[in-house]
Symmetry: C2
Subunit: 381 residues, 2 copies
């Protein structure tokens, strides 16, 4: 066990609003969106040179609340083990900026936000967005904070996609990139799992073509979608370890009740998810992930800062974002003569490992960041 | 390519009805079921000694129509490549019996059958059934046909479970067993995928607690369940090969239409499945698979015929029924000093491989059966 490190204590989510008409955000689809609000949190202190900022990006169902506690909450942010004083993302040294995404339902502009034209929730009037649109919005936030160049951009899963997109879109704005348990593009199997989740939601009559904000969420469909997701986030081994074939009661029920603990767990996870997540956001964000593709020449375009460094991490039992996808990324980077360190971390936790394998991740990230930061202090060396 | 072998030509499904009240079939749950009808087909000729009968058992959504053509049909039975003159299950030598299962919707008694007590479809009045109940019913059919001992019982996936259950329940009735791409018990991951499929069906209001036979199937929920299934039947590699990220049209639609070919394929497969399968049967049969467990001492009980031989086959890219589960079966059999041949067949087709990898399967099964049959002719040698 790693020693338990100090928490950041109480933190607050902040909101940045920009791009009101007529200066709306132009999306990859050509549609325009505005005004745009991004929820974000910051931990640590931005130095005078504004050179110690690290942008942390969350996964599919995450939010800006990455670390510390919100007033009155029992649980800290989703990466609290990694962000704080003395932790991998050390708030004694670095200024950590955690940004939410557009399309979301956690305080940023998304399908459940009010459409300024109708003064009703957007629903399906919300335009389709892409990972590059999410990053374009985040760029406005980073500019607003006066940060010329980020010391690093880091994230797991969809957070890793955003990190890659940051480098693809604004290579001059990032000194280093830490993509974890992610891919340059979704494989057909990854698209397939997303599509089944979307179909589960759209099959629920309560979805009502996205117009359910007065009548109530498509709870059942969204719960099914989340259950599918949960299976893909775990590994066969971690499920065996956590549940095996243990029954909830003695003997089989000979009914369609949940007999096995794993069934009860999935039902519970599905039911709790619908209380904290918007079904339309599920549709928009999975589609953004499916559209994402920075493979081949798309990742490294006219790079003028060959001093960028990558730390690529993947986990052996992650079958949703298998190591082969990270290796392909490393291969592409090396072909472009970019400095990349790759580590395949042993874990039985499957895709969830990026949230769980704190000790291994911390060592690798801490050392990587010190190296970058050292170069930073010495004008590039 | 293997040479194209002759087909059986036109075949017909037959029906065997038994166990009318008061002699109903007593199920593992203690409930009684009757009368019971089993749909079955036979190919080849039963010899005078009735010693050349092979029982072939189908997978989850299969049926008794394993080979040949039904009058007017364009497509043959589900294992036509394997059953016929000169094929692995050579109808010039063997009498092939293909039996459906109770709980099904392909001519055998199941939840869509008329409940003799109400003269309405059973729906959820149908009792929960297990793989051992399916086999208990098949035993009645085999007895009715006057077959003392089966030369072999063979099947893939749930068919393999039935084959294992035949040996567990009636070891003296089988000379050999060919379990393919199967397991002694479902892992929590396998249970989880089944449970999500069931939840997708039960989430559809049209399901109406199983009472939809007048109002119409829960089409949307059943389609979602089937889509999940399809992902698990393929491998990441076979999906990459078949679809990659190919689009249905040029460019992204920036809508929730199916952009990628894999999305269109899954939607199509879901929609066509609901036309040929009953949603309640989906629930009953997946539950039977989840309950199935012949691990440990349950498979080999008081065996009086140590001359039984096993041929266990699995496929490298099958992640739904991974090779490790077949190896565990082989291990259990060897511990009981049972003669077992194991082969892990290279394939990129995932779980579907047992229906596709005809050439490798044929060679192994043909040779295995000849060996058993030879021993048969020479009174055990």
């Amino acid at each position: 066990m790693a020693e338990k490190k100090e928490s950041l204590g109480i933190v607050e989510t902040k909101y940045f609003t920009f791009a009101a008409a007529p200066d709306e955000l132009v999306l990859e689809s050509g549609e325009k969106l505005g005004p745009v609000t991004l929820a974000y949190e910051t931990y640590g202190t931005l130095n005078n040179e504004k050179s110690n900022a690290i942008l942390v990006l969350h996964a599919f169902s995450g939010d800006a609340h990455a670390a510390g506690y919100h007033q009155g909450d029992d649980n800290p942010g989703w990466w609290d083990d990694m962000i704080g004083p003395g932790k991998a993302f050390d708030t004694n040294k670095y200024y950590i900026l955690s940004s939410n995404v557009i399309g979301g339902c956690k305080g940023s502009t998304g399908p459940s936000s009010l459409n300024p034209k109708t003064l009703k929730p957007y629903g399906l009037e919300f335009p389709l967005i892409t990972i590059s649109d999410m990053v374009k919005a985040q760029k406005q936030l980073v500019d607003f904070l006066g940060i010329e160049r980020l010391l690093s951009v880091a994230g797991g899963s969809m957070g890793g996609m955003q990190a890659l997109q940051w480098f693809a879109s604004y290579p001059e704005k990032v000194r280093s990139v830490i993509p974890i348990a992610t891919a340059m593009k979704h494989s057909p199997q990854q698209i397939a799992f997303d599509e089944v989740g979307r179909q589960a939601i759209m099959a629920d009559p309560a979805w009502n073509k996205g117009g359910y904000y007065e009548s109530g969420q498509p709870d059942r469909g969204l719960a099914v979608a989340r259950m599918i997701g949960h299976i893909t986030y775990m590994s066969a081994a971690s499920m065996e370890e956590k549940f095996s074939r243990r029954l909830k009661k003695d003997g089989y029920s000979f009914s369609f009740n949940a007999d096995f603990e794993v069934e009860g767990y999935l039902r519970y996870r599905g039911e709790s998810f619908v209380k904290r997540f918007d079904a339309n956001t599920y549709l928009y964000i999975t589609k953004a992930m499916d559209y994402f593709d920075v493979s081949g020449a798309k990742l490294v375009k006219n790079v003028k800062n060959p001093d960028v460094k990558f730390l690529v991490l993947s986990f052996k039992s992650d079958w949703l974002y298998p190591c082969a996808q990270s290796k392909e990324l490393v291969h592409q980077l090396k072909l472009k003569q970019i400095d990349v360190t790759y580590c395949e971390i042993f874990s039985t936790y499957g895709h969830d490992a990026f949230l769980v394998e704190v000790e291994a991740e911390s060592k690798l990230i801490e050392h990587f960041l010190e190296n970058i930061n050292g170069r930073n202090k010495n004008n590039g060396f």
